[in-house]
């Protein structure tokens, strides 16, 4: 039968302790019992053999004195004080020469033939237990066959002893099993206490206390790895959670500001009559604001889709050089207006979704153009390595402090919060680039030093 219950480690350990210790005790007890029994047997046989010698001696001397007439007397005298000992002597012709009181030999062996053997042990009439031996007693007369001697001793005492010994042993085993089970339970509980501790700590951690950690100091080394893994997981959760809540509050902020602008502006306009021009002006400005809002919403939906693994890029050969060239053509007015210097090297192909990749690189480019000062430099390099290709877009401009770098690809993240909404960016462009890269099993990175900032988009070659 297979138990489908959930396993308890404590119960399992307790059971294991109990089974092992009672097993060991049981084997020990059985061995001891066997040894004791053998010892008893040896003692019995020794006793019986001694008595046989005595009987042989008596037979010899009684025959010498006459025709066995003195035998019962002699034997009775010899057997006085030997409780439970019975002797029978028969002549070779089957005539009973002596039988002690209370003798209880198996009836089918009587009268014993010469050489006929007794069973080692038997049960007599009163269900008494006996052990016996048979032997010969030479009469000392030449030509006369020896008498047959049967000796038995009652095993009742031994049996009693063995019975109580076994009882004691079973009781001992049972008690020992219970005791070791209990001790095992205690030990298991004590041993598993750190685990309960961890459980307790872990169950205290909620979304609001993700910065709590399980202390590894008092934890046994076997569990240290589990604890470290848990702590790492908490760290990652906290990070994701923070980003998510940042994102939610950013969304609220990003949407609230323009909506409240729109509302205020509209209500102010409606508060009294105005000229057609004024109305047109406000409607146009509302339309612009709404357009921006709707673009932000579309971008957020795109990111939400990416988060839910709903972005499934098509697979086609994309010539990155061609794509970047058309992007540069698109952004040419901006590049010329800022009088930027442009350098573009390399060519490479990659498999992926052409439209998505164009958007990803386009966002990097527009970001680069936006942050390059007039007369600055933009350098685009296409690199193909063994297993990946990279687009690197380097622009001159202010060095971005390193603490901002890891978060640049976060949604709505801005290096300088005061520049909020000043540019035309929704603050989602780089996040979208990252999502597209990840949907292609690629990665984005950024470094910034000595007035140069380089964004890289790397994609694995071949299928993703």
């Amino acid at each position: 039968m297979i138990l489908r219950r959930q396993n308890s480690l404590t119960a399992r350990l307790t059971l294991l302790f109990a089974v092992v210790s009672s097993g060991v005790l049981l084997i020990l007890g059985l061995v001891i019992a066997e040894l004791v029994e053998r010892h008893f047997e040896d003692m019995d046989v020794e006793l019986l053999e001694g008595k046989l010698q005595l009987v042989q001696h008596a037979v010899l001397s009684a025959r010498a004195e006459g025709n066995f007439d003195g035998l019962p007397e002699q034997l009775q005298a010899a057997l006085v004080g030997h409780h439970g000992l019975a002797v029978g002597v028969w002549g070779a012709d089957g005539k009973q020469l002596f039988l002690s009181d209370g003798a209880d030999f198996p009836k089918n062996n009587l009268p014993p033939r010469l050489g006929g053997l007794l069973p080692k042990t038997w049960r007599g009439l009163g269900e008494q237990h006996y052990r016996g031996i048979s032997g010969q007693a030479p009469t000392g007369v030449d030509g006369e066959p020896p008498a047959v001697v049967l000796l038995s001793t009652s095993l009742t005492h031994h049996d009693h002893f063995m019975q109580s010994f076994r009882l004691a042993m079973w009781a001992l085993v049972a008690i020992a099993a219970l005791l070791t089970g209990f001790l095992g339970w205690l030990a298991a509980r004590r041993g598993l206490a750190p685990l309960r501790n961890i459980t307790h700590r872990a169950s205290d951690i909620t979304a609001n206390s993700l910065d709590q950690r399980i202390e590894a100091g008092e934890i046994p080394i076997e569990l240290a790895e589990v604890v470290n893994t848990l702590n790492d997981m908490l760290g990652r959760l906290k990070e994701s959670f923070d980003r998510l809540s940042d994102f939610s509050s950013d969304i609220a902020h990003e949407l609230r500001t323009p909506v409240s602008n729109l509302l205020t502006q509209t209500q102010v306009m409606l508060s009294r009559e105005r000229s057609i021009d004024d109305y047109q002006d406000v409607l146009a400005s509302n339309a612009e604001e709404l357009e921006r809002l709707s673009r932000t919403i579309a971008d957020m939906l795109f990111l939400a889709k990416a988060d839910n693994q709903l972005l499934v890029p098509t697979q086609e050969a994309v010539d990155l050089k061609v794509e970047i060239s058309s992007l540069l053509e698109f952004y040419e007015p901006l590049i010329e207006e800022k009088k930027l210097q442009l350098a573009f090297h390399g060519h490479t192909e990659v498999r992926g979704d052409r439209l998505m990749l164009r958007r990803a690189v386009g966002n990097l480019l527009s970001n680069g153009i936006r942050h390059t000062p007039e007369h600055g430099l933009i350098k685009i390099v296409l690199e193909s390595g063994e297993d990946q290709v990279c687009v690197r877009i380097e622009n001159s401009g202010e060095t971005i402090p390193s603490e901002h770098l890891p978060r640049l690809f976060d949604r709505f993240y801005r290096v300088d919060p005061s520049r909020h909404r000043s540019g035309e960016g929704s603050g989602l462009g780089l996040a979208i680039t990252k999502s597209i890269a990840m949907a292609h099993r690629g990665a984005v990175s950024v470094k910034s030093a000595d007035g140069r900032t380089t964004f890289s988009l790397c994609l694995p070659i071949g299928s993703y």
């Binding site: 709707s294 386009g362 960016g425």
Partner: protein, 225 residues
């Protein structure tokens, strides 16, 4: 030109009807799928604008009904869900174009005009004109008042688009997609800059301005003030 609009959302339906009517179309508005299908099958329309989610029968079924009856008019459908499956399904069922809500009205208007133009196979002119501006497609030459204007190839394409669709307000997204084949919303003002640069060459030294900004909607090339 008669257009059928099937849209259950009251506000959207009303402004679609008003907007299209003001753009010079005759518009019938149906508020649910059954009415829409009935109208589509009994009246003659040049184009239908269908919402996908409709009470009664869905936009898909209306579209199927229209195609089953052998009506070949272009159908543009509106969907709130930007799902690839939706688009593919619509296009497979015989829709000609789609727009994802929310959309700019100018975008819808531009698409409607494109679809209607596709139907009428007018011979494209070799030379496009507006007032004293001439664009020669064969020789790729632009002159104004007889004087040659040097344009880059993209500026030429941009001017060509504006001239072909003079009088129509073209939204930025449409310009980006038609001239540069950029089908994503750029978060830059690149179209604005491109128009400004084109205007500097085409309009700045002339009294009569041709390229106009329609705030909140896009750009239009018009000879009349």
């Amino acid at each position: 030109m008669r257009i059928l609009v099937v849209e259950d959302e009251p506000k959207t339906g009303d402004y679609l009807k008003q907007g299209l009517a003001e753009a010079g179309f005759m518009v019938d508005l149906a508020r649910d799928g059954l009415d829409g299908l009935h109208l589509a099958l009994t009246e003659a329309y040049d184009l239908a604008v269908l919402d996908v989610m409709l009470p009664g029968i869905e936009g898909w079924q209306v579209l199927q009904g229209i195609r089953k009856a052998g009506k070949e008019m272009p159908v543009l459908f509106l969907t709130a869900r930007d799902s690839v499956d939706d688009r593919v399904k619509g296009l497979e069922l015989g829709a000609d174009d789609y727009l994802v809500k929310p959309f700019a009205f100018s975008e819808l208007l531009a698409r409607v005009r494109t679809l209607l133009r596709r139907g009428s196979k007018t011979r494209e002119a070799d030379v496009l004109r507006a007032a004293d501006l001439e664009l020669d497609l064969m020789r790729r030459r632009v002159t104004r008042d007889g004087k040659k204007i040097d344009l880059t190839s993209k500026e030429f394409s941009l001017l060509e688009l504006l001239l072909r669709r003079q009088g129509e307000v073209l939204p930025r997204s449409l310009i980006a997609s038609q001239v540069w084949d950029m089908n994503f919303d750029s978060d830059t003002n690149v179209i604005e800059v491109a128009i400004r640069r084109l205007r500097a060459k085409v309009d700045d030294s002339f009294e009569l301005k041709l390229i106009h900004t329609v705030r909140g909607m896009g750009y239009v090339l018009e000879a009349a003030e």
